[in-house]
Amino acid sequence: MNKKKLNLIPYIFIGPAVLLLFVFTFMPILLALVISFTNLNLTGLADFSTIDFIGFDNFVRLFQDDVFIQSIGNTLFYVIIGVPLAVGSSLIIALLLNFVSNWLSTFFRVIFYMPSVTNIVAIAVIWGFLYNQNYGLFNYLLSVINVGSVPWLEDPMIAKLSLILMAVWKSNGISMLIFLAALRSIPTIYYEAADIDGANRWQKFTKITLPSMSFATFFVVVTTLIGWFQFFEEPFVMTDGGPLNGTNSIALFIYQEGFQYNEFGYGAAASFVLFVIIIIATLIQFKFRNKDQTL
């Protein structure tokens, strides 16, 4: 008797949110999927009757487009280097914050959150100065110790690394908060018990801290990965994809095609290629997730 009633309850909890998300986010995605098989451009937008279904033409074209191929390579580079750095640094900051007394922790929590709420223009101006090849601070410091100037944003490979550094710097805030919440939820009796067993600090970290916060780590890794696959803002404000498309990302490519050139069908197709890449990466994580992370 009770069973039937219980069955409705989860839907009451998830219903409103899922319904809204379905209508305002998922349905548009389905529409975009359909668009990716069409030649939709500005004319098509004005008059739907001129839209033609062109099958997989957009996708075929994408994989013949050197700029797109290059942007996939760049994006993978960003993800492979950037994600471990971003997750690692926010974890380290959270651990350090967890060590110090409460008022100090409060103070530094605000400080370390600041990049997340700093205007992107301010960030771009400051980092633009740091990276400026002739007048920048980094090259000035290098010249003091007699190292030649580094083309921070002028060489495709170095520029990618420069943007990663900037993005890691900027991205720590939210992950740090989540790690901190998870750290604080580990009961101190665990550590007390370990002390009695004579465990050293590293053992405590690997045997207690990390496993206890795996639910948070899993979340941070999955969302950070998704975020870095959609890497956009840094190349957008700093390099506009250059030099020689060396910092162009898939998300920036989509913006350029879909928005600047009004090739909506083509841009949508690119976004579904990105989507497939993200899905694969996410599924891999769900496969290797901790046992208690059941879906």
């Binding site: 349905m27 359909v34 937008l45 400026n132 030099p243 928005f259």
Partner: protein, 423 residues
């Protein structure tokens, strides 16, 4: 097999959704049209302006309301999202009545019939200021696409050479360089001043600037010839000129330089091209530089032409307030309004007679702009302009960074251009 099914299902979803949506939106718009029955409605005229211009436009709309009793609602839209906003209006068919449009957008949106054809209203007795003869000839030409008048020219944008009089005097050009040879000579001498010193500032990725330099080499875009136009020797000369300027270090690449205004002030880049707004900006931001800078018509190569750009006012295609919208345009085209707009925003009037007003005629700095107005060239009025420009910027980056020589880059660019224009 699977693909086919998938496509069919997708198509079905799309057709159903778009039918539902278009049914909803069309019933909406026809509903409002019925209710308001044309110009008799009391709803205010909706005008979209952009950024700071939009905010300024609101004051002018108030004057218009005083004069005509027509209520106007100006909505200003931030520049970086203006295109998104217009796209949603195009997609839903529900836009404002009057829209501010940068001239480069017009060919593109004209193709998708975003604007009401104004051809028959120009010359209509009801709107005395809307006469083709009243406007600058090239401005009028720039709004005619597919032999329809897509918009009303509002104001004009051209650039001139800004330069440091003191520093140019040091290298022997106290009045600025007259010709391209003088210009390069001056730039070389200025760049020789030492590390971190350059001759001029050029926005490396700005394709408008590239076309601008190409016009001066005698190049023009010929719509009949299409991509073949780029085979003209003038275009190649522009590419070589860019190569020279960047390779010899006369101008810094993007991440080696500074903001042009700042670089003019500290002397690291003593020359650059910019529009009339820069006059006020320099006076406001670096008053201490007063007397050490001046403007001049651009150095001549084959000719002294610069790009003729500007901003127009268009009427959205399915407005139900045509008459009110045109009255508003008529008001904005009034020479008096044009002069006032110049005073407020430093934008050059598109209406010729406004230039005779003392406010403009007696303005000394404007003399240079008046002279430069005689030497202008319209950009290609084709929907693919931005796309071609983007590709040109990519091509030029390869030349500037030396990963491709000019001949190869040009050949590749012509191929790409053919592809774009064929679509």
């Amino acid at each position: 097999m699977f693909n086919k099914k998938f496509r069919l299902a997708g198509m079905a979803v799309f057709i159903v959704v778009s039918l539902v949506l278009s049914a909803c939106s069309s019933s909406d718009s026809s509903g409002s049209a019925d209710g308001s029955s044309g110009s008799g409605s009391d709803e205010p005229l909706q005008v979209w302006g952009m950024g700071a211009e939009g905010e300024r436009l609101a004051d002018f709309a108030a004057d218009f309301t005083n004069e005509t009793d027509i209520q106007v609602e100006v909505q200003s839209i931030p520049w970086d999202q203006a295109k998104n906003k217009l796209l949603t209006a195009v997609a839903s068919g529900e836009g404002p009545d009057v829209i501010q449009q940068p001239s480069t957008w017009i060919p593109e949106f004209a193709e998708s019939e975003t604007y009401l054809d104004l051809t028959d209203y120009f010359g209509d007795e009801k709107y005395p200021n809307l006469k083709e003869a009243n406007f600058n000839e090239q401005a009028m030409e720039s709004v005619k696409i597919d032999s329809k008048t897509q918009a009303m020219p509002w104001f004009v944008a051209i650039s001139v050479l800004y330069y440091r009089t003191d520093l140019l005097e040091d290298v022997g050009y106290p009045d600025g360089p007259e010709t391209q040879e003088d210009f390069l000579d001056a730039a070389r001498k200025l760049a020789d001043r030492g590390e971190g010193q350059f001759g001029m500032g050029i926005a490396q990725a700005d394709f408008n600037g590239m076309f601008d330099f190409a016009y001066r080499q005698g190049w023009t875009y010929d719509e009949e010839k299409g991509a073949e136009s780029f085979n003209d020797p003038g275009f190649k000369k522009m590419m070589e000129l860019y190569q020279t300027m960047f390779h010899e270090g006369l101008t810094p690449t993007q991440d080696q330089g500074k903001e042009p205004m700042l670089a003019l002030a500290d002397g690291t880049q003593p020359m650059f091209n910019s529009g009339p707004f820069m006059v006020d900006l320099l006076n406001e931001q670096v008053p201490e530089l007063e007397g050490d800078w001046d403007v001049k018509t651009v150095p001549e190569a084959e000719n002294g032409n610069v790009t003729f750009g500007g901003t127009q006012l268009a009427v959205f295609h399915n407005t139900d307030k045509e008459d009110k919208a045109l009255q508003f345009l008529n008001f904005m085209a009034d020479p008096e309004t044009q002069v006032k707009w110049f005073e407020e925003s430093n934008s050059l009037p598109a209406v010729s007679s406004a230039w005779e007003d003392p406010a403009l005629a007696e303005n000394e700095k404007l003399e240079t702009f008046r002279e430069q107005m005689e030497k202008t060239q319209l950009p290609p009025l084709i929907p693919e302009y931005e796309r071609l420009g983007g590709e040109l910027a990519n091509t030029m980056e390869k030349v500037i960074r030396d990963t491709q020589d000019v001949d190869m880059a040009l050949e590749e660019f012509i191929q790409t251009a053919e592809g774009i224009l064929a679509e």
